[in-house]
């Protein structure tokens, strides 16, 4: 990856993180930890990989993205706003009465949201359906989906995993945000899903295990798909990434920062953004 592209993507991720905090703070509730952990994957998808355009959100030939871990909606909304689907200022209406930006993504209210999600496991199945539909019609779009590691405790995830491999959905790429924390604590202590790479491999997937904050690794993994197999990219990530006091802290799964915390987070994120002031 060229240095200029790398800096551009890191800037987009920093902007996404800044908007996540802006949204969750103004909402007074929401899920900052798991939104921050997937910001780099979201930046890569929306600003490098996916063939999508804010000018035509319903283009039948567009690539699809399904946020199966729907509670990370602030990360999706931030990416969509930066991509031009709606004004970035609107992130401040997140979760408020009358807002398009529902607590979990709604395909009928937010342009660019390809599937309503929120109940874990269901987005993964829907992504399989979109990929299968393309196999039936011969459409050339690619389907991307993002799951949580805690989400893998849902039985439906494994039903869908079996389905995707059975129907050879090589037009489907899944990311699993392996941030290792869920509401009740350490994922491995609540209900150990490990080893996720071996499990998906056993289910017939092509599997990569990468640092989910490293764009070079994300790019290499995304382009490493093989014919007739769905691709699973397990992203080793830090929950709360980018805000020092939220990093690896389970308490920030589903809690909004109060004003002093918000100010501290903004200070850190603005400083990070400052690094990319010259980046176009």
């Amino acid at each position: 990856m060229e240095q200029s592209k790398l800096l551009y993507l890191r800037k987009k991720a920093a902007q996404i993180r800044r908007l996540i905090i802006e949204g969750v703070y103004n909402a007074g509730s929401g899920h900052p930890g798991g939104s921050l952990s997937c910001a780099d994957v979201m930046a890569y998808l929306y600003f490098e990989k996916m063939n999508v355009s804010a000018a035509d959100p319903q283009d039948p030939g567009r690539d699809r993205f399904v946020l199966s871990k729907g509670h990370a909606s602030p990360a999706l909304y931030a990416a969509l706003a930066l991509k031009g689907y709606f004004p970035a200022e609107e992130i401040k209406t997140l979760r408020k009465l009358g807002s398009r930006l529902q607590g979990h993504p709604d395909m009928h209210t937010v342009p660019g949201v390809d599937m309503s999600t929120g109940s874990l496991g269901q987005g993964f199945s829907a992504a399989c359906g979109m990929a299968k539909a393309a196999k039936i019609t011969g459409a050339k779009y690619h389907v991307y989906t993002l799951l949580g590691d805690g989400e893998s405790q849902e039985g439906e995830v494994w039903e869908a995993a079996m389905f995707a491999a059975h129907y050879k959905l090589d037009n489907l790429t899944a990311f699993l945000d392996y941030n290792k924390l869920q509401i009740d604590g350490d994922v491995r202590k609540v209900m150990n899903p490990d080893p996720l790479d071996e499990k998906f491999r056993a289910f017939g997937w092509e599997v990569r295990f990468i640092d989910g904050h490293d764009f070079r690794q994300i790019e290499a993994a995304v382009s490493s798909g093989v014919k007739d197999k769905p691709l699973m990219i397990i992203c080793d990530t830090v929950k709360g990434k980018g805000v020092s006091f939220m990093e690896n802290a389970v308490g920030w799964h589903g809690k909004a920062p109060k004003q002093p915390e918000y100010e501290q987070a903004v200070k850190e994120l603005d400083a990070a953004l400052q690094e990319f002031a010259e980046v176009e």
């Binding site: 039948p60 699809r64 399904v66 709604d106 395909m107 009928h108 390809d114 599937m115 309503s116 929120g118 109940s119 496991g121 269901q122 987005g123 993964f124 199945s125 829907a126 992504a127 399989c128 359906g129 979109m130 990929a131 299968k132 539909a133 393309a134 039936i136 019609t137 459409a139 039985g155 439906e156 039903e159 869908a160 079996m162 389905f163 059975h166 129907y167």
Partner: protein, 310 residues
């Protein structure tokens, strides 16, 4: 004319409609039973077997529908609507996607499989989902016509089908299916009997028995349980002032409840609900079970007479 199960009508309709329309059909390892196999044999590229995984089936159906392709998803009522309730609620209901959940083997007429497979609460749970259309065809003619009607309707539909072969009540040469419309089949001022599904035939038998005794009832085919045709229900309740509901379903949450909800608010009228009285089924032959639970002409006659005695 030989008796035909509505699941057979469904399979035949899918296979015929597949020639005219672009849609996908899904099943969860019961394609022989639900009769989606008739479509699968003809259009294998558009048939998707999900294996025994109903939750994923509904989720995948939602994903396919989100790309603009209508989908029929089938299994036994117990699993299609019960096992996958939450997927239907969130991925199909809330999204208003074009998924038709066509569930066979509903009610006690599943027969010998017994309580775990006899789902008599499906209408109750499907009816509670905002925007969900719930239909229950009476016979081969109606079921065959209903499938094209729901395909043309843009949005989620739950269609209830039966395992058991039932008499053909309607003449296919003249029958027209109109979604959302309750259809009076007989006219009588003594009592209004609202029924759906396999109970239509039995309600018509009750009509004849009662007529012989000088009692005239209106039998109204309420094939669309949701949205309820309120105008027709109110019209016949006003005309007769006595109402009986009949269904192969729990008395809780089905057509009986829907009629009571409407009448209690808009036209308080005595109602007797004939249905499964909050119990689980047991193994037995379909006909034996309908008799056991009073879901027969005698049971309907009894309910009408109770109303008349009030």
């Amino acid at each position: 004319m030989a008796d035909i199960a509505t699941r057979a009508s469904y399979g035949r309709a899918l296979a015929d409609l597949g020639e005219k329309y672009m849609f996908a059909v899904m099943d969860a390892d019961l394609s022989g039973s639900t009769q989606t196999k008739k479509f699968a044999d003809k259009f294998p590229e558009r048939f998707i077997n999900c294996g025994i995984a109903e939750q994923n089936m509904i989720g995948v159906a939602a994903g396919i529908a989100a790309t603009g392709m209508p989908v029929f998803a089938s299994s036994f009522a117990m699993f299609a609507s019960g096992r996958a309730y939450e997927q239907i609620r969130n991925s199909v209901g809330h999204t208003k996607l074009n998924v038709k959940i066509c569930a066979s083997h509903a009610g006690v007429t599943v027969g010998e499989d017994g309580a775990t497979h006899q789902f008599c609460e499906d209408i109750a749970i499907m009816r509670s989902i905002p925007g969900m259309v719930v239909i229950s065809p009476a016979d081969d003619t109606e079921a065959y016509a209903a499938i094209e009607a729901i395909l043309k309707y843009d949005g989620p539909v739950y269609c209830r089908l039966g395992r058991q072969a039932v008499p053909v009540v309607f003449d296919p040469a003249t029958y027209k299916f109109e979604l959302f419309k309750a259809v009076p089949l007989t006219q009588g001022d003594d009592c209004a009997v609202f029924a759906h599904g396999v109970m239509i035939d039995r309600a018509l038998q009750a009509y004849k028995l009662l007529k012989d005794e000088g009692i005239e009832i209106s039998v109204i085919n309420t094939h669309t349980v949701k949205p309820l045709d309120e105008q027709t229900v109110l019209e016949y309740a006003a005309k007769t002032r006595r109402v009986v509901t009949v269904e192969e379903h729990s008395v809780i949450g089905g057509l009986g409840s829907a009629v009571c909800e409407l009448l209690s608010e808009k036209l308080p009228t005595p109602v007797t609900r004939v249905g499964i009285n909050d119990v689980f089924g047991v193994s037995g032959k379909a006909g034996e079970l309908l008799d056991l639970f009073g879901l027969n002409a005698a049971g309907i006659v009894r309910a009408v007479k109770e109303q008349l005695a009030k």
